[in-house]
Amino acid sequence: MLNKIYDWVDERLDITPLWRDIADHEVPEHVNPAHHFSAFVYCFGGLTFFVTVIQILSGMFLTMYYVPDIKNAWESVYYLQNEVAFGQIVRGMHHWGASLVLVMMFLHTLRVFFQGAYKKPRELNWVVGVLIFFVMLGLGFTGYLLPWDMKALFATKVGLQIAEATPFIGSYVKVLLAGHEHIVGAQTLTRFFAIHVFFLPGALLGLMGAHFIMIRKQGISGPL
């Protein structure tokens, strides 16, 4: 049945080369854990991507209940966590996944660093990877405020003070992030929400696309 549907589409659109380009490529022996168990270090990049997918999915579902408004944010989070079926699990996935994605990304970075895999001709991919790292940190920072509880508020106040300490442009950066000179409030929350669900994920998808195109083009780095 599935084969027939596939053949029907393939006959018309010739999709086989498309997915072959994406999915069908050799895994060299030195990155295959079945040959050398120590090759599990090559999994961290893929695991980062896997957790990112979970983050995007669980985040999409959370916005079905969440409201980015100072009067309702905390209430809606409380409601979705305690009144909605599996709310605790879906929010838990997003909460713990946020930390896990940073851990996986850090391990991936360590592997690339200590294997020297960033060296010519892969310097550009290292640069894009570092940009992804910053985007991820930004996602963590902006997402932390959204539940609008005391911990979120004061963590953000500290974070904004750190941004403010930037030489010359610090005070402008702070106002740009907080939306107000002195208040961390209504405008801060909507800004952080917009950054968290539209701007940074958009940047992240673009950067990840570039990251993956480059690794397919250049292939994985050779054995040590």
Binding site: L57, M64, Y65, N72, S76, Y79, F86, V90, M93
Partner: protein
């Protein structure tokens, strides 16, 4: 079982699809259940809401009765006002009609159309209903006005959730 041998590649693709599907389902099930929760939530029983109207004051002439109740909309609680047209029919039975026009949902009034007195009239598209709420043929509405179930308690009128009636 067929006699055809399962090739190594087939075996791998079946097991990987199976395990992968199981893991994907484990991931997606909580999220989907989370999303469809409003559909599966049990609806609260139809409570009767007190109105400020004394049963003894209800006459044969329909009057507008506004009644308020607390509505809980997830994390948002508010006071909502609803309206009923209330009168006693010829047998002395209380009738409480919903003012929501069955055409496109405007609010109907009693006896405001001078050409057709003693009827409910909807100003939006000139829909009309007779006193018992039955839609007048050849006007836009296709069904009679909804009816509130009612109760009498301590001399006051209590109304439930308005229910639709069959087509006239």
């Amino acid at each position: 079982m067929s006699k055809e041998r399962v090739s190594r590649r087939q075996f791998l693709s079946y097991t990987l699809t199976g395990v992968g599907g199981f893991m994907a389902a484990g991931m997606l099930m909580p999220m989907v259940r989370f999303a469809v929760d409003p559909v599966l939530k049990a609806e609260a029983g139809g409570d009767f809401i007190p109105t400020p109207k004394k049963v003894s004051e209800i006459t044969k002439e329909p009057v507008r009765v506004d009644f308020k109740f607390k509505q809980k909309d997830a994390w948002y609680e508010s006071e909502v006002t609803e309206t009923a047209w209330v009168y006693k029919d010829d047998n002395g039975k209380i009738i409480a009609l919903s003012p929501v026009c069955k055409h496109l949902g405007c609010t109907v009034n009693w006896n405001t159309d001078k050409e057709h007195p003693d009827q409910f009239f909807c100003p939006c598209h000139y829909g009309r209903y007779t006193k018992d709420g039955t839609n007048v043929p050849n006007t836009p509405p296709l069904a009679p006005l909804d009816v509130y179930p009612y109760k009498e308690k301590d001399g006051y009128l209590y109304l439930g959730k308005a229910k639709p009636r069959k087509e006239a």
